[in-house]
Every structure is written in C-alpha cells, then in structure tokens.
C-alpha cells in the first residue's frame, strides 16, 4: 500500500429541508490508498451518492451543511470554494456518472467533449488534443475511434457512451476516479465489460477507484476493500474477503442473502429485507437498522452502536449483537 490518497474524517452532509434537517451522510470516516479500489455498497437512499458528491465538492452551497474533513491528496475539500475545486477536478479527481444517457451533451460531438477538457485543463492545442482524444477513445475500447470521434452521443449505444464518459474522466489522468453506479443503465453483459475496463485502466494508469453500487456482485471481485453503508453511516468495512466471508453485521448478511445465487435451486424465493430504510428527517435513537433486524434487542433501539474492530486488521463493524466470529462464513 502506498501513501494515503484520500482521508475522510467524520464527514457529515446535512440537508436543510422544510421538514427538518436530513443527515444524508452522518459521520463517515475512511481512508483510501493509491492504486486501490474501494467499493461502497448500500441500498437506495443510504447516502452513497451524497457521499460521492461531497467528496467531489459538488454539493450546492445553499441549504447543505458539510462538516468534517475530506483530504484529497493533501488538499481540503470541505469548505473549498468552487475556484479551488476547479484546480483539483479532472487532474486529481474525476467522476463517472450513473447514467451515460444524460452525462454526455447531446448536441456536441463526443470528440469535442473530450478535447475540451484537454485544451482547458492541460492547455493542449487543437491537434494535440484531438490526437490524445482519439488515443483515449481507443484505450477505452471504442472501435474505429478515428471516425467515432465525430459521432454524436445519440449515435452510440449505452455501453459505448459509458466508455466515452470514462474516456472523458481519464483525460487528465486523475489520481482518483469516483464511479457512481456506473453500470446501472446498462445490461448485464455490458456491465461486466465496463467494470473490467475500469479495473484494467486502474492497473494500467495506477489510479484509485471508488466504486459505488447497490450490487455486491459488482464489487466482489474488483474491490480491495468494501464499505457497507446504511442510513448515511458506515455499518461495516473491511477487506473484501472479510466483508464477504467474515461479516459480523446482520445488515451485511441480509444484503448478501438478498442477491440471487447461481447455486440456488430453480424457483427459489429471493430473500428480502423486511421494511424500508428509515426516514432520515425524523432521527430515531439507537441503531438505524434495528427496526428491520432479526437480531435486534432492547439495547439496539436505545443506543446507537459505534464501529469496533473485528479480529482481522482494518475490519470494523457497528453492531451490539454481531454474528458470531467464524473461521470462514459461507458467502450465501
């Protein structure tokens, strides 16, 4: 492991709404090292996307309160002005957005969308930028990049568009790429291609990736470490192997149980987590997962658990009644 690229300490993002304050991210701390893939997993509304946008410094300045610290390669993001962020965007950190249908400008040729970054941020001239853009398009696996350079986004399929989005993000060789559910809009075979592409580019360019998803399968083989989020908080984090095979938090278990397995008999009913994620604008004491948890006791409803260390280094979980420690839990 090389030096720390990203240090997030007690990060809180609170939205002020008419119905009260909504703590979308409620005190999150983690580190990210160079050339590492971190998976952030959680249900819809668990605060993954808000966390990503906060790390990017993309939260609007009004009606949002961000406290804590995000150190990106030594630069503080929390409270940084847009001008400061502009010096970091694209060169330090870039983002791959969720939906390739909306993250490309429909009226601009894709080549221009990549060029522009190169010319504005790296000061390349027209020809150099064009050559580099074609090189990038080739790198992300777009066939006949030379002619596709002049294509409009509508002329490309969803998978191709997401490749273009990735090429745009890579343009200034950022040290960190945040991919927010990069494969949600794509079908399964293309999903795998895009994820493998991100993975190989990560190795090739020795950058770090934060992969945000609701699908544990997506991060299983690609992430070095996994963070499981629930209701804006980290409930379990650790090396991918530990989270999959030695998880202690019942929520992680429930998430794993609710994904379909190839080994299941045909017509097996998929396990679901009963209930809904909590409404964050009316804070409840105790563990946020308690109302849906099969292991919940009196204490869970009153006192919120904090992250404690498990036996493996770096493996932490927040639960009063953790699943028993096993030598190798079967990832079901």
């Amino acid at each position: 492991m090389s030096e720390r690229l990203l240090e997030v300490t007690d990060l809180r993002t609170t939205f002020r709404t008419v119905t009260g304050a909504v703590p979308a991210v409620g005190g999150v701390s983690f580190d990210l090292h160079g050339n590492e893939t971190l998976g952030i997993v959680g249900e819809s509304g668990s605060g993954k996307t808000v966390l990503a946008r906060t790390i990017m410094g993309l939260q609007p300045r009004t009606n949002v309160e961000v406290t804590g610290s995000v150190l990106l390669n030594g630069h503080q993001v929390v409270g940084a002005s847009e001008r400061t962020m502009r010096t970091m965007w694209a060169t330090e950190v870039a983002m791959v957005f969720q939906d390739p249908m909306t993250s490309l400008n429909p009226v601009m040729r894709i080549g221009r969308q990549i060029d522009e970054t190169l010319r504005v941020r790296l000061g390349m001239d027209r020809h150099a930028a064009r050559a580099r853009a074609i090189e990038l398009l080739t790198m992300v696996g777009i066939p006949s990049a030379q002619s596709r350079y002049r294509a409009y986004p509508t002329e490309l399929s969803g998978g191709m568009r997401q490749r273009v989005v990735i090429a745009t993000a890579l343009a200034c060789s950022p040290k960190l790429i945040i991919a927010d559910e990069p494969t949600t809009g794509l079908d399964v075979t293309i999903q795998a291609q895009i994820l493998n592409l991100l993975d190989s580019l990560k190795e090739q360019l020795s950058m770090s990736v934060i992969l945000i998803t609701h699908d544990l399968g997506v991060v299983a083989t690609r992430a070095t470490r996994i963070i499981v989020m629930y209701a804006g908080q980290i409930v379990e984090m650790g090396d991918t192997r530990d989270v999959f095979f030695h998880h202690r938090m019942p929520y992680t278990r429930a998430l794993l149980d609710s994904s379909p397995k190839v080994t299941n008999a045909p017509h097996t009913r998929l396990a679901v987590i009963p209930g809904r994620p909590p409404n964050l604008s009316t804070p409840q004491p105790g563990c946020a997962f308690a109302p849906r948890c099969a292991y919940a006791t009196e204490r869970c409803h009153v006192e919120a658990p904090t992250l404690v260390d498990a036996s493996a280094p770096g493996h932490r979980f927040a639960c009063w009644n953790p699943l028993p420690e096993t030598s190798d839990r079967e990832a079901r």
Partner: protein, 287 residues
C-alpha cells in the same frame, strides 16, 4: 413464426420525423413577406402615398390588384409597404427582448442564488403589470412617435417574458449530469453557458422567438389601430385596418387585405414555431 412477427402490432419501424409540406409552405410565405418588405422600393408598385382621385374605393381590378382606398391609394402597394413596419417592429423588438432577456435568464438559471432570486422577483413584478397598458402609456407620452421608439418600448416590455421562458428552459438543462460533468472536467463558466447550455436551449429559444415575433406584431397592430403606432400617411397593417373603419360599408377590401396579410403572417409564424418545437421535442425523447 415470421408471419406472427409481421402481423404483430407495434413493431412498425420508427418513421423519420419530417417537418411536413405545410411547414415549408409557411416558410415560403414568410420569405416572400420578408423579401417584399426589403425590396418594396424596387418592386413595380405604385407609390403607396400617391392619391389617385379618379379611382376611389375601387374593388380589385387588373390595374389595382387589391383595389384602392378612400383616397385613391393602391391597397396592394400599401399592404406591401405596411409589412415593413410590422417586420421592423417584430424583429427589432425581439432583438431587444432576447438581447436582454436571454443572457439574464441563462445567467440566473445557471448561477442560481441571490442573483437569480433578485432578477426573478423583479421580472415577475414586471410581468404582473399588463404589458399592453404600460406600452400604451409610455408611447402616448413619448412624443414625437417614431418607429425606433416603438421598437424600443415593445422590446423592453417583452424582456420579462423572454427571461421567464429562457430561465426555465436553462434550469431544466443546467441540472443535467452532462453540465455537472463538464464542470467537473474543468470547463469554465463561459464555456458551459455557450457550449453546453445555449445549444440545448436553442430549440426552445427559436420557437419562442417566432411566437414572440407574432405576439409583438399583433401588439403593433393593436397600437396602430388605436392610432399609437407610426404616424399616417406611412402605411402599416394596423393603421390601414384602423382607417378602413369609416368606409367599411362602401369598401370592404380595405379591411380585408391588410387583415388577411396580418392573419397569414401570424399564422405562419405560429405554425412554424409550433412545428419546430415538437420536431425538436421528439429528438429529445429519442435520446
């Protein structure tokens, strides 16, 4: 199996969206109008101010295709020359309206925050005041009336309308991921405004521009009808209709031809604007 597929409904291939012949007819008519207004001097027309007392209130004839008015002036010539006023007001006022309203609307929607709050509040206050009354009031007192003054007043009155439409169109685009993506990729504000936002609101702006021209031309017609537009004897569609009131019984042609010209002009503008909007809308859905 293939039979089944052939018969099943809903797999008909998507037909290419066309603008349709009516659209092009309208474009043709407007072009004719514009050319007529520009080259009115060169065209083989009688002087619109020449009073021929031998043929007064005459119906259409070979000599005077649209007939003559109560002073013996050629109606065809006056309709053609009258279009100059309408077109000048329509294009001039919209130039001012868009020139001021569009940048403000885009900036407010992109910047948000205090600038947006203040601008929007001011514009909505202005919108709440009936524009036509404001225009009539200003024009009545700002004498002597000239075409330029009329254009300026109507143009300024249209600013809040343009602002509102452009702002909401920009708001819809500014929240799209590709704008955030451009920002995160290092695009400057100016680039985002001109390269990301402007092209994407252009279809809405263009169709609103056409409908705006139509509205403004109507407004000028109304002013002229009240005798508040260009001074006679300069012809304009509005003041021709106004002058014809007294002789409508003897000479209906005098009201029919300028009204028809105005009507067709507005119809074409509205139709083109509408057609363009739905044409571009479909393209958006296809994305």
């Amino acid at each position: 199996m293939s039979d089944l597929l052939d018969q099943s409904p809903g797999i008909e291939p998507l037909r290419e969206q066309r603008l349709g012949p009516l659209f092009w007819i309208c474009v043709g008519w407007l072009t004719l109008n514009v050319l007529g207004a520009i080259f009115a001097n060169v065209l083989p027309l009688v002087n619109p101010l020449y009073q021929n007392y031998i043929v007064i209130n005459a119906g259409p004839s070979l000599h005077h295709l649209f007939g003559t008015d109560d002073l013996g002036r050629d109606i065809l010539s006056r309709v053609v020359f009258g279009s100059r006023v309408s077109l000048a007001v329509g294009s001039g006022a919209m130039l001012i309206g868009f020139g001021i309203g569009m940048p403000l609307g885009m900036l407010a929607a992109y910047r948000r925050g205090r600038l947006d709050s203040i601008l929007t509040a001011v514009m909505y206050v202005l919108l709440a005041f009936p524009a036509i009354i404001a225009v009539i009031a200003v024009i009545s007192f700002w004498t002597p009336r000239t075409l330029v003054k009329i254009i300026v007043v109507i143009g300024l009155a249209s600013v809040p309308l343009v602002y509102r439409v452009i702002r909401s169109a920009t708001l819809a685009v500014a929240t799209k991921d590709y704008v955030t993506a451009a920002k995160v990729q290092g695009s400057t504000d100016r680039r985002i405004l001109f390269r990301e936002l402007l092209p994407n609101i252009a279809p809405i702006a263009v169709s609103f521009l056409l409908i705006g021209v139509a509205t403004v031309v109507t407004l000028e017609g109304a002013l002229a009808f009240l005798g508040l537009s260009v001074n006679p004897p300069t012809p304009s569609w509005g003041n021709m209709i106004n002058e014809s009131r007294t002789v409508m019984a003897q000479n209906p042609w005098l009201v029919i031809f300028p009204s028809l010209a105005l009507c067709l002009f507005l119809l074409c503008l509205n139709f083109i604007g509408d057609r363009l909007r739905s044409y571009f809308d479909v393209t958006e859905v296809k994305l």
